[in-house]
Amino acid sequence: MDRELILDVRSVSYRYPGAPADALEGVNLAVRAGEVHAVLGPNGSGKTTLVRVALGLARPAAGSVMILGRPAGAWSRRAIARVVGVVAQREDNLFPQRVRETVLLGRYAYLSLWGTEAAEDHAAVDRALARCDVSSLANRWIWTLSGGEYQRVRLARALAQEPKLLRFADRVLLLADGRPAGAGAPADVLTRETVERVFAWPVSIASFEGRPQMIPLRHGKDEI
């Protein structure tokens, strides 16, 4: 237990406004550096709710959520974006954009109000592009990409945030990385192979490197 505790969710309950029952009831989840977690469960079992609560996007009714030892609700969006990267399930880009431009948006949380992107920001983008094997697509328009390529680009954008914790919205998977934010190559657990598996076969997570932990959910309760 010497690895850094990144996310600590303790007996968390959550109920949507106006809902007759709790969406989450006393759920626990601890994510340490270097671990891969998958939240599994049938539709409506609370997977997305758990991840939203865990990342401070929804306030739990009971229980506590700590990210790096600090209550999730106490983080500013900007500060948390340097620690947690999210690969969104889908997005609908209003304007045409090139791959490199969209990945550069991952550096937003590091930029000052009037400042411009520095060399280290561009370096982080280069690393993220290479990591997701999309360097060759850097100058392509996003709308010319295949669905899988676009997903890898979104992953690159999340990696450009140099997060300690990475969340895939699709499969509600959490990958934790032991490196401090901003200190170089993120998410060592993340190889091209794992990425492709995540996106291609959601159920085969068991074969991941890093020994993923399953958090089965049923009716908002964890079954561990």
Partner: protein, 313 residues
């Protein structure tokens, strides 16, 4: 290079606005001419400020409501301003400041109403509802305005219609100075929101995950864009088209990053309106065309050219 080109266009538009006019002023006398000093120069500057305000507000609103067809006039502000102005005309308020103040008050009233309607559950600003509320408020105020106009006598009617069509004939150093004091704050607020607007164009959830404080950005952008539009409408009436097409023209030249786009839109909008106003004054002198017609006549061909160039490359 593009910035240099835009700078040249701005300078040329302002220069033409000062040199050309129904009255002939020899080039040598430009600096000393009373016509230039008290009429053309304030009018050129007012056109520039109003056009710039409308265009930067339009560019920001397009990203905010996630609709490339968004235009400041879609937010119900112009309707509210028109209603305020027509009310002032119908009530025979005779003061040079009555019209702009009434129009500004009408625009603020419409803005408050649209904003309130756009708040979902009292907390989150929903851009889709914002635009629907804007259209609804705009339609309602337009109906009331038309009712008032149809009930008023001929002279009032003409005044009201002239005002509603928009024009810069009321320009003076006073309202240039007023706008110079008023506009910088909302403009700076919009410029500061440039990066968050880039994120917002991806959608609210992705923007949040990338570190943007989405609710605060939406509020700031809506309020700043509305305040700019309200002031522009108050001094010049309803001028369409600048807020819709200039941002898109600038997107074709500068791309979709709001950092360069917003200032480019301001300069481009200012140049387009200054140029259009010159044409409006000169084309059928001694009478004047409504400037809104000219913005469309100049803006559409320029836009079509840019669109062709862009789709070809």
């Amino acid at each position: 290079m593009r910035w240099l080109g835009l700078g040249v266009v701005v300078a040329a538009a302002l220069l033409l606005a000062v040199v050309l006019g129904p009255a002939h002023v020899p080039l040598a006398d430009l600096a000393t001419s009373e016509v230039v000093r008290s009429l053309r120069l304030p009018r050129a500057l007012l056109a520039f400020l109003v056009g710039g305000s409308l265009a930067i507000a339009g560019a920001a609103l397009q990203a905010l409501v996630r609709n490339p067809l968004a235009d400041p006039s879609l937010l119900g502000l112009s309707g509210g301003a028109g209603l305020g102005a027509v009310l002032a005309i119908a009530l025979h308020v005779n003061s040079p400041w009555a019209l702009p103040i009434a129009a500004f008050a009408g625009a603020l009233g419409a803005m408050a109403l649209v904003y309130r309607l756009g708040l979902v559950g009292g907390a989150e600003l929903d851009p889709r509802i914002l635009i629907l509320a804007g259209v609804a408020v705009g339609a309602f105020t337009a109906a009331v305005t038309t009712a008032l106009v149809s009930l008023s006598d001929a002279a009032e009617l003409r005044n009201a219609f002239l005002w509603l069509w928009g024009g810069l004939s009321g320009a003076s150093w006073d309202n240039v100075a007023l706008l110079c004091v008023y506009a910088p704050l909302p403009v700076v607020v919009l410029l500061a929101a440039a990066r968050p607007l880039d994120l917002l164009a991806l959608g609210e959830e992705p923007a949040r995950h990338l570190g943007a404080d989405v609710e605060s950005v939406k509020r700031r952008v809506y309020l700043a864009a509305s305040l700019l539009t309200a002031a522009a409408v108050a001094v010049s009436g309803v001028i369409g088209f600048v807020g819709l097409v200039v941002p898109h023209a600038m997107r074709l030249l500068w791309g979709h990053r709001h950092r360069p786009l917003l200032p480019a839109a301001f300069l481009g909008g200012g140049a387009l309106l200054a140029l259009s106003d010159t044409v409006a004054r000169v084309a059928v002198a001694p009478r004047e065309l409504p400037v809104g017609i000219v913005t469309a006549l100049i803006g559409v061909p320029v836009f079509v050219l840019l669109l062709r160039k862009w789709t070809a490359s």
